[in-house]
Structure formats: structure tokens, C-alpha cells
């Protein structure tokens, strides 16, 4: 978790601050940050994934003194960053297939071990499609073998690169190209999908954490913690997608913040299968505030709309709050 800094003007919520001691600055506040994912990439305006990837990889670069190799599953992150022969990546980076990023990471880690380069670390990364669906078998194997790789999933809740098809991380009621907003139960079904952080915990790997692009300090602290650990680690980052979610490009961070403040996206850390810390909700809000700015949920609003589905989504948020203890003891 982030260090407690009693800082009255801005708390610890802004990226940096001129009044903070340099050692307390976030990686992103530094002029020397590595900008692992450089300008000129072709992500949409306001892309949460581009932001989340730079946050996470820059933090991993600092934690490893730039001794880092990244492998990438197919997906937006790969497509928008490396149209041959250009690349936005400023670190050794490899792409193979949609489904095998975890296995490629395992292989690189094994090769480094054989060569005795124990100071060089490996991350594997992908979107929710490449992680929860297509790459799931390879990832589960990597967890089960406890290979020394940090796997980062940038979860934008659908296959955005190919035209917004549903993945097993798409939330209920959301409209995608394959779960259209038609019929009596429009959008994605309730009761389906996977919760990959919990599945990762079931493998009892050393470290599992969730984060959002709205809380940089928390995200960086989690990457840092992960890079101090050897073995299989999993970080699940919520990254809003203006294109697929039908949201304004300037709302990316606000939506990620609301996902956490509603309780729909619990932010926590777990070690060896046990939850060790949760990030408490600061100002609890109704799920409506989160859902309304997103056109993928537009069919739930208006008349007649689907108040019963909104109520179910609120129940889901309340369940998370109960289950993870997301409210402070004083508020619960």
C-alpha cells in the first residue's frame, strides 16, 4: 500500500507535488521516468490502457533499474504500439501470439536463469481477452509452476481492438458487438464471466493485486511490491476504454475512480491466496454515477429502461463492499 503522507494541500492523490521530498515522488512525476511506452503510439484519444501500461512498466523499470524484458499478448496494446517497423516501446519487447504471452514470459525467465542473468526480470502483459480467455491456459500454467514472471492484465472489459466483442471480463448488462442491447435482457448476461484475480489467488501464487489508472500511487506501489518478489505474480489493472465503453475521452480516469468508489471494482492485494490489504472507498457513490456516462449501459436508463438490472448491478457492488470490507470501519 502507499505510504501515509500527511500532506494537507493535496494529500497523496495527485501525481506529484513540488513540496514532497524527492524520495516520495511517484515515478510518473519524475522527469527521468523511462516513458516505456513512448509518444506516437496509435491508441485512441484518452486510452486507459496506454496510460496504465506506461504507469506499470515505468514503475517496473524503476524497480529493476531498467533491467526488464516485456512480452506482450496480441491486443490493442500490441497493435497500437508496434505497427511494423515502428515501435513505441523503449525496452526489450517481444510479441508472439494472442494466447501465449505467459508461456513466452516463462521461457524468457527460464533462459535468463540458465544464462545466470538473475538481475534481468520479466513481465508479460495483455488485455482481458488475451488473459482471461485466449491466454488463460498458459497463464494458469505459469501460476501453477510459479515461474518468475509478473503478468499484468490491462482490463478494458472486452475485445476492443477487433471491434468491441464480449470477453469473459465483460460486466453484466454491458452492450458489446456480440451482446447487443436488444431483447428482454439486453447486453451481457448476469452470472457469467471470470474473476481472474480470485482465480489467480486460488493458485496460491506469492502476489496478486488489483489496481486502476485512477490511483497512480497505489498502482506504482503494487508494481514495486511485485518486483521485490520472485515467482509468479499477477496484477490486474482496470483501464477504461472510451471507444468500447462509449465514454468521453476525458472521463477515462474519472470512470476508473468511480469503478472503485462504487465498489464494482474492488482494489486489494493478496499474498499466497490470502487478501492482505484493501483500498477503502473514500466517497461512496451509487453505481448509477459510474454507469450513466457510459453508452454501453445507455439501454439501462431512460423509460422504460431496466431498473431491475441497475438494481442487480448495485447488489453486485454492495456484495463486493461486504466481501472485501471496502468501507472504513467507521463508515460500514
Amino acid at each position: 500500500m502507499t505510504a501515509e503522507i500527511k500532506f494537507y494541500q493535496t494529500g497523496t492523490f495527485t501525481v506529484g507535488n513540488r513540496l514532497l521530498a524527492p524520495e516520495l515522488h511517484s515515478v510518473q512525476a519524475s522527469i527521468e521516468r523511462s516513458n516505456s511506452l513512448n509518444s506516437g503510439h496509435r491508441a485512441c484519444q484518452g486510452c486507459g490502457e496506454a496510460l496504465g501500461a506506461r504507469y506499470a512498466v515505468d514503475a517496473a523499470m524503476r524497480a529493476t533499474s531498467n533491467r526488464l524484458i516485456a512480452c506482450n499478448a496480441t491486443g490493442c496494446l500490441e497493435v497500437f504500439s508496434t505497427p511494423y517497423p515502428e515501435t513505441s516501446w523503449q525496452l526489450p519487447w517481444i510479441h508472439s501470439l494472442f494466447g501465449n504471452a505467459a508461456a513466452v514470459g516463462t521461457g524468457i525467465a527460464a533462459a535468463l536463469k540458465v544464462k545466470g542473468k538473475t538481475d534481468v526480470r520479466v513481465i508479460a502483459q495483455g488485455g482481458d481477452g488475451g488473459t482471461t480467455d485466449i491466454g488463460f491456459g498458459c497463464l494458469s500454467g505459469m501460476f501453477e509452476r510459479n515461474d518468475d514472471v509478473l503478468y499484468i492484465c490491462y482490463d478494458n472489459e472486452a475485445y476492443m481492438n477487433t471491434g468491441v466483442q464480449r470477453s469473459s471480463a465483460t460486466p453484466p448488462a454491458a452492450r458489446t458487438a456480440t451482446t447487443m442491447a436488444v431483447g428482454p435482457r439486453p447486453g451481457a448476461s448476469f452470472g457469467q464471466g471470470k474473476n481472474l484475480p480470485l482465480i489467480a489467488m486460488a493458485h496460491r501464487i506469492p502476489y496478486v493485486a488489483t489496481a486502476t489508472v485512477a490511483d497512480l500511487h497505489d498502482l506504482e506501489a503494487k508494481v514495486d511490491t511485485a518486483m521485490r518478489v520472485r515467482g509468479a505474480r499477477y496484477l490486474h489493472v482496470l483501464v477504461p476504454c472510451p471507444l468500447g465503453w462509449g465514454s468521453a475521452s476525458h472521463d477515462t480516469i474519472r470512470l476508473a475512480r468511480l469503478a472503485r468508489e462504487t465498489g464494482l471494482f474492488p482494489v486489494f492485494e493478496a499474498e499466497h491466496g490470502e487478501v492482505t490489504a484493501v483500498t477503502h472507498i473514500r466517497r461512496r457513490v451509487s453505481v448509477l454515477e459510474y454507469l450513466r456516462p457510459q453508452r454501453r449501459f445507455a439501454h439501462l436508463f431512460g423509460t422504460p429502461g431496466h431498473p431491475e438490472m441497475l438494481a442487480r448491478i448495485q447488489e453486485e457492488a454492495d456484495r463486493n463492499i461486504r466481501r472485501f470490507g471496502l468501507l472504513d470501519a467507521s463508515e460500514a
Binding site: 500532506f7 495527485t14 506529484g16 507535488n17 509518444s39 506516437g40 486507459g48 517497423p85
Partner: protein, 542 residues
């Protein structure tokens, strides 16, 4: 170079791809006018000096503050800080204690002996300032900063004007007043005390001065006709407060009635309590809501045991007693007599019914316009109808308080400077207001306002010690850091961090940021996540 198998192109960086061409809106850094600054009658850059104080560099903060107002220690005590009423933080938890931080900076300056540097070059021009009150001394300071020679002529025996003769020492200790006045004098201002200017036309005719600033204040007590027996003891408030500065405190007796509803009435009642009056009663003909006295002062007075008879007028004054008539507000809110009378026992009656300006020194000056007992000036330049003759403070049409007077002094000084150079003060372009809606308050953590320690009520009524305590360094820093920096970048690095395209360039400490429009796609996240609303999205001309 031999390329690997199946590779035909050299590896390239995505920097070749100028994504800035996608943009339909561009982010632009702006400075907006914080509501506190917009509100300040003295035109202080409050956000600016708080910004410096936040870093703990109090001298830089003080120097920034005194660019606009040379009297922070006085302001920190007597200003009614309307800035705090409009502070955006008030909508979040409680307004920033601007006034208390200002006082802290002022006291710190007095303690450490910070002074003003003499001007780098002398203009060779000489300006006469008539009156050494807040307005005159503020003008003297600013004129001196601009390199002009300044002579201040003061009718009284000391500097300060109404600050000394109108504001009791429990609100403004005299060493603070003396300290801040002396600092202006030390800058090279010539002062002539006990030098009443009887006829300004004569002074101007002699031609020693290139311009004149008049700030003689309003010292003549207004009278009301009250039928009184010879034995009734009736005084006026100005005289009472003035005599507090002399050797002999005024004889008011055990029961004192003050007639009027302004700050002066409250000051007299509180002074009477301190002089040993067991009863100090303010008689005012309207209600509390209509009272012109500042609420803070009234509240402190009530805590000290001052009583107020609302909706009452004084009909007759006899020996040891007054006849009071009850009033009632009519439909338009004006008090009307009811015919109900009562008797109020008293040893003395003090009239605090407002003050008039002694305009006799203006006789024989052509071109002046006098209206409602004050001198009319061009509100943009503070110049009267007579070229080269400027006026400010209580003698011109405006709200009568110290902060307004200090602001007049500054404005007049700058306009005199322009006039001496044969130019006209360009109207400074004002930034758009930094409204609460433009802030992203998520980024500000919650912190309550520091409450200034107050002296025990009991101690207050028996001495002339200062009522309001000051802040310690710790809580002054805390308080300064509560500033939201509305509309002005405070280098939180948010824009630099949240850009998905690395299109924000961090220029280094104190230099803020710049946009790299080659790559900025115009998503607007930086503007949405800027805590203080210092980024604006502007449509591109496509």
C-alpha cells in the same frame, strides 16, 4: 548493415508518427483569477503569497504580499477578510484562514526585521501625500517603490490616522502599527507631523510637488439633535477613541450608552467595558440583520458582555437617564416610531452616528466636484477633477474600511506614476474567475480550518491585550497548505502524469509545464484531472 532474416526495414520509433494531427481540441494552460484575489479591496495576490508560504519560504511570501499591500500585520488584525467569504474551499469544508496567515507573515516580518529596499532609480519627481492614514501611507509606499520622492503631511502627532485614532489597541496593538508605518518611512519617505494642510491650493501653487494625493479621512463626528439637559454627559465616538491615545482616558462612568450601529459604536462599547463600565449598551434603531457593524466584531462584543437595544432611538437625554423610544420596522424595512417609551439609566452617552470629511482644505481648487460630503474621483485613476490632484480613502465615495483605503493608496500611486510620465494606466486585463465548478476537488484531502486561539473572555474585558491570538508556524503552514490554488498551477504533476501520450513536458521546479502538440491527441484528461482548473480545452481551427 546486414539485416536479420526476413527483415527488410530498419527499426523505427513511433515518434515518427505525429499523432497531434488527430486533435480537434487543444489543451492550453491558463491562469484564472481566484475568488479571494478578485474580492480583495487592496488587490492582493492572495493565492500567490499563499503559494510561497506553502513551501515555508515566509520571506518570499511576505515580499510577494507586500508588492500590493505594505501592511500585512495590520491587515491580519483589522481587515474584515471578505476574501474568506468567497473562498472556494468554503464549499468543501471551511474557508482557508487567509487573514490569519497574512497576520502570521506580517508578524514574522516584524520579528525578523524584514524591510523594503529603496527604489533602484529615482524619478526626480516629488509627490505630496496629505494624511498619514492607511490610504496615505499605502500611497507613499507605492510611490516610493516607483522611485518618486514622497512627503507626507499629517495633521496629527503620529502616523496611522484612523488606524490609531479609530481602532482600539485590543484590536491593533500599537507596536504593530508603529512597526509597519516606520518601515514605510525607512524607505525614504519624508514625514511632517503636526502639519495640517489648511489650503491645498496654496500648497500646489508653491509648486514644490509634481502631484498630490489627498487622504485626510473622515474625522468629524456626525451629530443628531437630541434634546438634552445641560447636565447630560454627551460625547462623540471619534473623540472618545482619540482620547484613548492620550494621557488621560475618557471619563465614561459605570453605565455607558452608545448610539449607533456601525463598527465605531461597537469599538466604543468594547472600549467602555475595558475602562471599567459595568454596563455598555449599544442603542440601535434597526435590527441585527440591518446593522452595518461587522458580524465578527458584534459577536466578540456580545461575548464580552456588551448589550444591544435593538429597534430603539434616543428621544431625550437627562441627568443620569435617557428616554428611549421603541421602533418597529415598516413594510419597506425602515424603522418607525411606536410611541412606546422607556427610561435607560446612564452616566454618559456616546454618539457614534458616522463621520464626515473636513473638506475645508479644498477651497479654491478649480475643477473639483463635491457630492454627498465627499470628493468625486475618476474610479479608474483616483484623480479628482483637478489635474494632478488625486484622492482616496474615506474622503472619496466608497466603502469605508482600512482595506479599501489601502487599495485606494495603491491604485492612486500607480496612476500618479502614469500621470507623471504623461501616460495613462493601462487597464490590466483580468483573468476569468476560477469558479468552484472548474476544480477537481477529488485531489484535495480533507482538513479543517485552524481556529485562532482567543484570549479568555474574562481577560479580554479587563485589559487592552489583543483579543485575537496569532498562528504558530506549524499551523500557519498547515493553513497555507489548505489553499486550493484555484485557477493557478501549483505543480502537482497531474497533467504530466495522466497524459496517455507523454505529450506534457515537465519544465522543472517553478517553471510549470508545456504541451507537446506534436503528439497531444486532445483527449482532455489533463484538463479534467487538473485539480485547480488551470487547463482549458480550446477548439482547433480545422
Amino acid at each position: 548493415m546486414k539485416k536479420p532474416f526476413a527483415i527488410t526495414l530498419d527499426p523505427g520509433s513511433s515518434l515518427a508518427n505525429k499523432t497531434g494531427s488527430w486533435r480537434t481540441e487543444r489543451p492550453v494552460y491558463v491562469d484564472r483569477l481566484p475568488p479571494c484575489n478578485a474580492q480583495c479591496p487592496a488587490g492582493e495576490d492572495i493565492q500567490g503569497w499563499l503559494f510561497r508560504a506553502e513551501g515555508g519560504d515566509y520571506e518570499a511570501a511576505w515580499r510577494h504580499l507586500t508588492r500590493e499591500n505594505p501592511f500585512p500585520a495590520i491587515m491580519g488584525r483589522v481587515c474584515y477578510h471578505s476574501c474568506e467569504e468567497v473562498c472556494n474551499r468554503g464549499q468543501l469544508d471551511a474557508a482557508v484562514g487567509i487573514n490569519s496567515v497574512e497576520r502570521f507573515l506580517g508578524d514574522e516580518a516584524l520579528k525578523r526585521g524584514w524591510g523594503f529596499a529603496p527604489p533602484a532609480t529615482e524619478s526626480g519627481k516629488h509627490v505630496l501625500v496629505v494624511g498619514a492614514g492607511p490610504s496615505g501611507m499605502s500611497a507613499a509606499y507605492h510611490l516610493r517603490c516607483l522611485g518618486h520622492g514622497v512627503t507626507v503631511k499629517e495633521a496629527g502627532p503620529m502616523l496611522g490616522g484612523m488606524l490609531r485614532f479609530g481602532i482600539p489597541r485590543y484590536r491593533l496593538p500599537r507596536e504593530v502599527l508603529d512597526g509597519e508605518m516606520q518601515r514605510v518611512v525607512d524607505q525614504g519617505v519624508a514625514v511632517e507631523l503636526n502639519a495640517r494642510v489648511a489650503c491645498i491650493a496654496d500648497e500646489m501653487r508653491i509648486g514644490r510637488f509634481d502631484a498630490v494625493f489627498l487622504a485626510v479621512g473622515a474625522h468629524i463626528a456626525k451629530r443628531a439633535y437630541i434634546p438634552a439637559k445641560d447636565s447630560a454627559r454627551i460625547l462623540d465616538a471619534v473623540a472618545v477613541l482619540r482620547s484613548m491615545e492620550g494621557e488621560e482616558p475618557p471619563m465614561l462612568g459605570r453605565r455607558v450608552v452608545v448610539y449607533g450601529g456601525g463598527n465605531t459604536a461597537i469599538d466604543v462599547a468594547r472600549t467602555a467595558r475595558r475602562l471599567g463600565a459595568t454596563e455598555a449598551i449599544v442603542v440601535y434603531r434597526r435590527t441585527r440583520e440591518k446593522m452595518p457593524a461587522h458580524d465578527l466584531e458584534l459577536e466578540e462584543a456580545l461575548q464580552e458582555g456588551v448589550m444591544v437595544k435593538w429597534l430603539s432611538t434616543i428621544r431625550r437625554a437627562g441627568e443620569g437617564a435617557l428616554t428611549i423610544e421603541k421602533m418597529a420596522l415598516d413594510d419597506s424595512g425602515n424603522p418607525q416610531p411606536t410611541g412606546e417609551f422607556e427610561t435607560l439609566e446612564t452616566d454618559s452617552l456616546v454618539l457614534a452616528l458616522g463621520q464626515d470629511v473636513d473638506l475645508s482644505l479644498l477651497e479654491g481648487v478649480p475643477g473639483l466636484e463635491l457630492k454627498d460630503g465627499v470628493v468625486q474621483v475618476d474610479p479608474l485613476t483616483m484623480m479628482t477633477g483637478h489635474p494632478g490632484l488625486f484622492a482616496g480613502g474615506d474622503m472619496v465615495p466608497a466603502q469605508r474600511n482600512v482595506t479599501v483605503a489601502v487599495g485606494h493608496g495603491k491604485k492612486a500611486a500607480r496612476c500618479i506614476d502614469a500621470w507623471l510620465r504623461g501616460a495613462r494606466m493601462p487597464a490590466a486585463p483580468k483573468h476569468a474567475l476560477a469558479t468552484f465548478e472548474r476544480l477537481n476537488v477529488w485531489y484535495y484531502s480533507d482538513a479543517p480550518k485552524t481556529v485562532r486561539p482567543q484570549l479568555e473572555i474574562a481577560r479580554r474585558t479587563s485589559s487592552f491585550d489583543e483579543v485575537q491570538g496569532g498562528l504558530t508556524e506549524d499551523n500557519a503552514l498547515f493553513e497555507a497548505r489548505r489553499c486550493l490554488s484555484c485557477g493557478n498551477c501549483f505543480e502537482c504533476d497531474n497533467c504530466y502524469g495522466v497524459c496517455p501520450d507523454n505529450a506534457v513536458i515537465k519544465l522543472g521546479a517553478g517553471k510549470r509545464f508545456a504541451f507537446n502538440y506534436d503528439y497531444c491527441k486532445g483527449c482532455g484528461i489533463c484538463a479534467a484531472e487538473c485539480p485547480c482548473g488551470a487547463i482549458e480545452m480550446v477548439p482547433e481551427s480545422v
